[in-house]
Symmetry: C2
Subunit: 192 residues, 2 copies
DNA sequence: CTATTGATTATCAGTTTTGATAATTTAATG
DNA sequence: CATTAAATTATCAAAACTGATAATCAATAG
């Protein structure tokens, strides 16, 4: 009987726009007007579909974590049976696939963690899981290596990767990206 | 004859406070009132001594680049005659010395580079110089290595280092810091 | 067609932020 | 003490931002 609800789709577009906004202006730097403009909706509709500023951040955090988990799962499933680690690195440092957006959004969230202990904890977990995922692939290919060594290498790869994406706003950075990919390969080779 | 000018000192304290502000709230997220509060001065004094929002950012960029250059120079001079690379890594990843503040301020500036091509270029140069500085130390200790290999390793170290500091707002992160330091050492050892 | 309910728009009041100017106070000098 | 130039304070108006409510429009079921 009632008019069909658009909330599901609206939420999507709004949270997508929110991500673009915080990547550009930071969490505290994004205004509801910018967001409404970016989403192509009236400001009142932002409120209607998601809520106020705080609600938006909360909703986006959930969205971010869900997407992130889904993305890594997809990546891991897409890896071939052989040479999984090499394929993973090539994917991570391929400018065509790597979406620096997610990493930059993560940076914005981390910067906003300042006075939000709960968010800080969740972002810490998020990064730790990313490192663990890499370590898991490594130990699959280098089963004889000590776990400590594998963990160190995984942390190094994650750091190199995160840094490349963090510099994306400065431009293409293809030189750095290539050098970083080779450095990551070097790091992996220390396990052989 | 006139009352002595405080501009030099005021500028210092204001730009120091500005750095703290953008580290916490981002460039677009910091307001003049927050800044005045952080600096312990009336808002009108911010304007009197430095200028408006845009002037502040411009002044801070110069300040940041100057300090950064001075800091790296000081670090390189402080390195011992022997085992310079190891000493450099220990310094970079020592939570006592490493001031993540500078790196986090750099992150804030990079995030704000979005619509400022000139700033993006300067930050690109800033990072390239950091990498080159590391590469220079590496090739001093490993003179027989190909320049390309040295550059890759330097990029990896810089990335690992920058990432550690970028995560500082999430808390101490001592585990990651230690793992990152060991990863950096591993990377260096690939040159031997 | 009509009732129902959600989408959409219009509008408002209160607060924050900013840029600016004028007025006032303060410290050094002759 | 009077002068001078700077520091400091007081105050203003315009703009931006936010939260909120009411009114209007639109689609579906009966």
């Amino acid at each position: 009987m009632p008019r069909p609800s658009m909330k599901a789709e609206r939420r999507e577009t709004i949270l997508d726009a929110y991500e673009r906004c915080i990547v550009r202006h930071g969490v505290e730097g994004t205004t509801l007007e910018q967001l409404a403009d970016e989403a192509g909706l009236a400001r009142a509709l932002i409120r209607h579909n998601v809520g106020n500023k705080e609600d938006l951040l909360d909703a986006y955090i959930e969205c971010f974590l869900d997407r992130s988990k889904a993305d890594t799962k997809l990546l891991m499933q897409a890896l071939p049976a052989e040479n999984r680690v090499a394929a993973m690195l090539d994917y991570l440092f391929d400018p065509r696939y790597a979406n620096s957006h997610a990493t930059r959004a993560a940076n914005a969230l981390m910067a906003a963690s300042h006075a939000r202990p709960d968010l800080a904890g969740r972002m810490r977990d998020w990064f730790a899981r990313f490192v663990a995922e890499i370590a898991s692939e490594l130990s699959l290919e280098y089963p004889d290596c000590a776990r400590a060594d594998v963990d160190d290498v995984a942390a190094g790869i994650a750091g190199i990767y995160a840094n490349v994406d963090a510099m994306a706003p400065l431009g293409p950075m293809t030189g750095l990206r290539d050098a970083s990919r080779r450095a990551a390969h070097r790091l992996v080779n220390t396990l052989a």
